[in-house]
Amino acid sequence: GEIFELKAELNSDKKEKKKEAVKKVIASMTVGKDVSALFPDVVNCMQTDNLELKKLVYLYLMNYAKSQPDMAIMAVNTFVKDCEDPNPLIRALAVRTMGCIRVDKITEYLCEPLRKCLKDEDPYVRKTAAVCVAKLHDINAQLVEDQGFLDTLKDLISDSNPMVVANAVAALSEIAESHPSSNLLDLNPQSINKLLTALNECTEWGQIFILDCLANYMPKDDREAQSICERVTPRLSHANSAVVLSAVKVLMKFMEMLSKDLDYYGTLLKKLAPPLVTLLSAEPELQYVALRNINLIVQKRPEILKHEMKVFFVKYNDPIYVKLEKLDIMIRLASQANIAQVLAELKEYATEVDVDFVRKAVRAIGRCAIKVEQSAERCVSTLLDLIQTKVNYVVQEAIVVIKDIFRKYPNKYESVIATLCENLDSLDEPEARAAMIWIVGEYAERIDNADELLESFLEGFHDESTQVQLQLLTAIVKLFLKKPTETQELVQQVLSLATQDSDNPDLRDRGYIYWRLLSTDPVAAKEVVLAEKPLISEETDLIEPTLLDELICYIGTLASVYHKPPSAFVEGSRGVVHKSLPPRTGSSESAESPDTAPSGVQAAEQPAVIPTQGDLLGDLLNLDLGPPVSGPPIATSSVQMGAVDLLGGGLDSLVRRSPALAAAAAAPAPSTAMPANLGAPLGSGLGDLFDLTGGVGTLSGSYVAPKTVWLPAMKAKGLEISGTFSRQVGSISMDLALTNKALQVMSDFAIQFNRNSFGLAPAAPLQVHAPLAPNQSVEISLPLNTVGSVMKMDPLNNLQVAVKNNIDVFYFSTLYPLHILFVEDGKMERQMFLATWKDIPNENEAQFQIKDCSLNADAVSSKLQGSNIFTIAKRNVEGQDMLYQSLKLTNGIWVLAELRIQPSNPSFTV
């Protein structure tokens, strides 16, 4: 009905009625109604000298041309004609609208008018045409390249009109984003100069484009960097916050090149603070983005805002997302000088209404205590005050942070334990319960009724969350080791609860370790369980320095809001170019020599971060609070204790317990406890895999080596065994060929494996149905699993096998290829891979060369995948293909690999 009426009106003779009708159509379109049926009628109205009507029709065309491409062609003539119109406004409008019509047939007709408009005498038309190139590129990139529009666009960077320059930069930046490899925006000092000139004269939006473009430039020396900085600084006073932040990015990046002794360096630092503070008086949405960026800036250069703590104080009607960010920055800026003020504020926040905010405020107090040693005492007393309020969630948060404070300052604040114990009953959150249990276990010798307290938790053992169960298990073992006489019963109870009644493998494993430790060597148990724990450090929440440097280059972008490099989340960022801060070139009298400066900075910052890896190792053995990260200490200390045998198993299950700990922990275990031998078999195993190049199209399954003779006949009274290992659809099997070379019949075969590094064991008995007559042979596939007991072997993949028959028992040993242990779900999340890769300490890396391999990257990757080695990422660096691989062993150890493929000589790094 309505459509029909509109149709009639559109075809009316009266201009006025026509226009009103088009308006109605547009109105329906904007609210999402489908008015595409009117397409021919609306297009008919396009031939008009009435500018408003023309614009309205254009609006309609842009929306619906895609659904009616054949009809849209009808409009082409008018467009082409309009591009010749004497009025630049009409010319610009035509070229602008044409670019918005995403129909291939129309784009063909667009090229000629566009070429003309790019060289139009009127800058308004040129700047519109510049944007049109970006539009066209989005629709048909090849066409843009073929028509040479990119070069014309590059020429526009030197245009005399600043608006044209800005739009050309914007268009080129957008095109470059989908073409990361192209050098569309390679800047040289001349073009930089042009951009800087245009910067002063173009609109605020143009300034943002130009500043973002400048930030990608690498000045050739500190003098050039300084002169750019000088010309960018006035932008800090712009009313548009996006301009300000883009200017901050340029300055933060180029400052890196300036010598710190320079007067100008200090001036620049001073100039950066006020605009950042001003951003915080803008609308809350702007504040949020600004705060996320300030968070990065204070980590990189804390000196800029160290006196501005107060602007981060929270107002009670700030939106929650602003409050939480402000809190984070307050902690980062906390220092001895301002800690009293900060604490007073935090205490105030802890009485606010919003639960999330209150929790974070309480946590912040704990973080202050850990960060500023002098304040620890005050923090603890503040926390105690808060516990006295008896507000449930406040008490729970307070107990969680007090646990951390104990770990930072052991034997200092234990006097508060009594107060904590009073609140035992009110704890209902797993994290708080676990923290409390940890405290009780850790200080069992000072708490008279520790056994009663822990026993009370034990009653509802099976209803607790895993976190609490694990903690309780460890705490009771600690208690037992400290007070063995009274608590024997308790420890037995918990061990049996954990090992027999629980179906959680983590809990069972830990239970068994403790059980075995306690039963075999209580002294060793004591040393392991009660080992001195490394102190936790303040910097656990700092962004890792190399990532921070990269993020500084992305100030003002989405990456800075998420604190992740764009490669980690931006869609379609194929092979994002990693940006890095420029090295400080510095003048020669500068204290730091040019080469060492950046690495020196890194070295200075590194230690602050690394300890957290080491310290949490302690967690693995007896606490499991916080994210598991690992390092070598316990492994080595245990080795010295001589409990190697146990440790093989212990480490193994420890590692299994926390798959998250991945390669960072994976490699440490074998490489410290089992010196140096993981690498070799792995290397050779991979060598094997590559040998496969020769053919054997076993892409479908995992690679299977040809059978080799394991047990020659002469050693086994005429029984010859040859065999190999294979992995198919998730199960491992041992393929055996038994040949009777003796003169008598053999029967009653049985097989057994000795304990081995990966717990390989036969999953079914060896089944040889008929007795084996002389000179007869039989092929058997023996399924294996990895739940057998574990012992470290040397070499790691050694397997000792015993075969029995009616004649005798024979022993032999064989090496199994590691790749049969690679499980199918060994594909690591890309992000996790990145994170873990960075965390791998150097000592856990190994390099191998694999020679004589003539496969290309893709073939390698698909071949490896057949053997459950998964390609996570691939990139091309300097003509070499880099493959990033992950694989997971049956016991949960991850191995990450980087494969560099050169035409002839692939080398391999673990």
Partner: protein, 418 residues
Amino acid sequence: MIHSLFLINASGDIFLEKHWKSVVSRSVCDYFFEAQERASEAENVPPVIPTPHHYLLSVYRHKIFFVAVIQSEVPPLFVIEFLHRVVDTFQDYFGVCSEVMIKDNVVVVYEVLEEMLDNGFPLATESNILKELIKPPTILRTVVNTITGSTNVGDQLPTGQLSVVPWRRTGVKYTNNEAYFDVIEEIDAIIDKSGSTITAEIQGVIDACVKLTGMPDLTLSFMNPRLLDDVSFHPCVRFKRWESERILSFIPPDGNFRLLSYHVSAQNLVAIPVYVKHNISFRDSSSLGRFEITVGPKQTMGKTVEGVMVTSQMPKGVLNMTLTPSQGTHIFDPVTKLLSWDVGKINPQKLPSLKGSMSLQAGTSKPDENPTINLQFKIQQLAISGLKVNRLDMYGEKYKPFKGIKYMTKAGKFQVRT
């Protein structure tokens, strides 16, 4: 760049969408609705929301969410600034920015949005230029248009867009030439229980209304320009001149605009013009609490404090309040627990106070949180930072304009903890 824009009202209806590139399905807003549901209040919806293929950036103003959809790495501040500019433009065009107003003028809105972005790149965001391109609707113009058949779209190239002063339209003519400047300062402060200042800062702006014929070139100088060490200028201000001489030199846009905004945070420069004496007590195991507040002037440089308004969000446990004000009117809303007291002027001889009792929920322990008192006030003819304009001069035109400067101090986020 900016792909699409959705306007969403508080009840979660999309009432307008605009796409600058290909059409993005409105189902992308489902992620926004999820976030909206999760947030306790509309103000708390996070401004950046990731979805599998897009990012949603939003601002919340006039009870409307303006949600921009972007697909690639775009500076979020750029998008948010632009969204605020959109809201400002609507307000400028229609007087108020509301759902009803936008729906009534949907075609103009659509035309304006089309002019503001091209392929997601900002095109014309200065209201001076936009108004030249698309005339704002007025009743008179609608009548005239229907009679004469003329349109509300300008058919001239907006000349300003290409000149060196893109913010000013050409050919401006007035019979009365006038230039007014308002120096408005807002005090943001947090005052603690005992009455001492925790933070205090001044957000100042100079808003101008300039109606001058031709191409006037103005300079504005201050008695004490040193106060202004943290400033943001309108693009028309010549920065070099400010750096060297501390004088604002500019060719103004036509009509209303913000010349500069500044920030004074040095604590000793921020005077606190009012104080609040409060005595709010809850007691355990009692269903009655006491409430008493008094407001008085502090450092007002002899000026009257007026338009005083006290609001406070009372804890949930407060059922009702029985209060008597010495002046003004008060309301306590038992549902939202919001107490507001419209005080009016403060007479230093007879300080306004509000006293009485609160009835509390029986049987519960006393509320955990103390109410914060929010204060609104105005002081005419005073810039609390002490900023003073020295003189305003005009060059480039021959006539004598009428000039005026007004000062005002207001409370911004002025909070007193109890």
